[in-house]
Symmetry: C2
Subunit: 408 residues, 2 copies
């Protein structure tokens, strides 16, 4: 299925020009794990001294490579690191076979790179429940090591795609204490996307210098307002993994630096938005802002209830400003709401206030907004100062086409 889908109408014009990050190199290969004739494995190698932080799916049925990464994260060691990722097979719900496959990949990568096993991080994405043909991957390891190059991140972004219709990358640079710092990241994901997790697969690299514990705290916090605020279909993957590698090659310490944190947030939000824009079958990118709630958690609960509602998502696909379904989704969310204090906007148009349609509302104004491919919905609950913003896409025939036929 991957590769045969038309490029999302919400895709950016082109893959961004990502800078080399000193201390990181990449190589990719076509190993034929599942797909023929395309890159499906990438190996990134990070220099000694690199800090690796990460967040992962909270699924109770998470995949073997996720469990392996979680066990290794934060262990002491300055030996550098490797990240090996394949597409086409998730190595999830594969029992003992899955654990053995991870061990085989880690062992072979350690041998090929000279790195210790506890600095080898792997990830797999694709179909669930089929044994990973790890021999196909390890057969390419010698080439993946000898082909390492600092400017091959674009191929790596392509190699990790499954039902994605375009590779996803983002970059920011920031000046800290007069010194330039670069950040470059890649992501994959288009279905089985829901919050309360890291995301699908995301790899971000920077030459900033920052300790592992501090980087971990920063990544966890930043995930909450970026990847944990997106949803395509409310289905949480067994494989979601986000790793951030800080090589320290710039020599610039970014501890507690607000500019670096802001740049990292910008890269993560950019990648999160690109995942939503490649949501399976998506034709509309939707931003939902919820304000005036009892607290921020309530606002996020309302926002995700709206974002995950099949009736809201199909109405938007049909370009129908059906604000009654937004009211329904607020009502079912379980968070506090007062029907008669609700106000709703579609774009700049105030649709409803004080529990009923606004006196100034003209449906043609909201309907005009629905014709665009970026839809903005705001709900004010009129109860407090808790706010949140979440992002999603519409639910279309394309989603059914892709997912009623994934394995065949």
């Amino acid at each position: 299925m991957a590769g045969s889908l038309p490029r999302s109408p919400l895709a950016p014009d082109q893959f961004p020009d990502l800078p080399d990050i000193e201390g990181v190199t990449f190589a990719s290969a076509a190993a034929g794990v599942r797909y023929a004739g395309r890159l499906d494995v990438m190996l990134a190698i990070c220099a000694p001294g690199t800090s690796i932080a990460g967040v992962f799916t909270k699924s109770s049925t998470r995949a073997a490579p996720v469990l392996d990464c979680q066990a290794k994260l934060g262990l002491p060691g300055d030996a550098g690191a490797a990240i090996l990722v394949n597409a086409g097979n998730a190595n999830a719900f594969t029992g003992r076979n899955g654990t053995d496959a991870v061990a085989a990949l880690v062992d072979a990568t350690a041998s090929a790179t000279g790195l210790p096993e506890n600095r080898i991080f792997t990830a797999s994405t694709g179909v669930i429940g089929e044994p990973l043909p790890h021999d196909k991957i390890t057969a390419h390891l010698a080439d993946l090591v000898s082909n390492q190059s600092p400017d091959a991140i674009a191929d790596a972004a392509a190699a990790i795609m499954t039902t994605d219709t375009y590779p996803k990358g983002a970059t920011q640079s920031v000046v800290v204490d007069g010194n330039p710092i670069k950040i470059a990241g890649i992501a994959k994901g288009s279905g089985m996307i829901a919050p309360d997790m890291a995301t699908m697969l995301v790899y971000i690299f920077t030459d900033a210098k920052i300790g592992q514990a501090e980087l971990q705290d920063l990544v966890r916090q930043t995930s909450d307002g970026t990847f944990n605020c997106i949803t395509v279909d409310s289905d949480t993957s067994t494989s979601d993994s986000l790793l951030v590698a800080a090589t320290g090659a710039s020599g610039v310490d970014v501890s507690d630096d607000a500019g670096f944190a802001n740049a990292l947030h910008t890269v993560m939000l950019d990648l999160a938005h690109q995942v939503v824009r490649d949501g399976e079958g998506a034709t509309k990118f939707i931003e939902i802002e919820v304000t005036g709630c009892t607290d921020a958690d309530a606002a996020k609960t309302h926002g995700l209830s709206i974002a995950n509602s099949p009736l809201v998502k199909t109405a938007i696909a049909g370009e129908d400003p059906n604000w009654g379904r937004v009211v329904m989704a607020v009502g079912k969310s379980g968070a506090a709401a007062d029907r008669d204090s609700l106000s709703i906007w579609f774009g700049d148009t105030l649709v409803a206030e004080n529990g009923w349609v606004s006196e100034t509302y003209r449906e043609e104004d909201a309907a005009a907004h629905m014709k665009g491919d970026c839809i903005y919905i705001r709900v004010d609950c009129g109860m407090g100062s808790g706010n949140a913003t979440v992002w999603t896409c519409d639910l279309t025939h394309g989603y059914i086409d892709i997912n009623a036929d994934y394995r065949s």
Copy 2:
């Protein structure tokens, strides 16, 4: 839209032959609330001494008639009762106008029937956020009263439909202390169906004799295992209402009678299944049984997570025995699960056990089961004795067609 949809392929062959219930009469009318040329209002009148019990949506944005019913339920009074229902307009999120419309309907019905206002129960179903043209309904009240008949429940079932493709009815008879008791019920609903509520609209009548408080307890308990275990699209309506009227006309006291409770459960489960079988766009009726959980709540949480997963529902639409998505849905549910203790069946076929595909599994066996229109999925968590069963339907192009175009 209503009336223009083809009859669900999962519909029963015909509307059942519902018995007259002594003490209840019905009439219906074509009031043109929204639809032209079809019945859209029904009035049921119950004799003095009737006990009325009910359960309603828990939505925080519930509609004006729901709030009115909830305020009246359980008030003392032996004066009989009337139930007035319209389709086409939900009178939800209509502010002061909504409350006024309910008052107008109740006042006119009380005048036409001679019943006190606190024994008039109304419900409205259809589009949200538009003012209810209550004058169109009250204009028919005199005829609705004069046309009352004990054998007109089938028309009443048709009058309350919206996007339903067939009217829904069910009946049971049971012998209590040597005396026959009859139960007959009707329901509507096909989208915006999710549990944690009563259901869409359900009206059940019996000639049994039972006090209001005891009937209320019985209805609430029985809802938990029937209407609260179904879902079409995870979207909870603002208008869900279930009323059970026990006229007592048989003179047979059914207090604490297990046979009556069982018969009522059978009627409610039958109607709940008929709602799922008319799920918007449905082509498969799906039963999901979850066993071996830490408790029954955990089993229900897993079951609903599977039933609401767009990826599970689209896989079933595509007749793909994609058990990896069932694993995913268990993993994301938030209830306790141990990946390596999970077992999964599709139909009679053991697909997975001990955290991986079963050694005996042949995909053609499960694939054959998926071709049918009744799909049975069982998940055993291997952790305890908590069980639950839930019911849903698949997610198809038909759902998108219906809901991307509802209001236009």
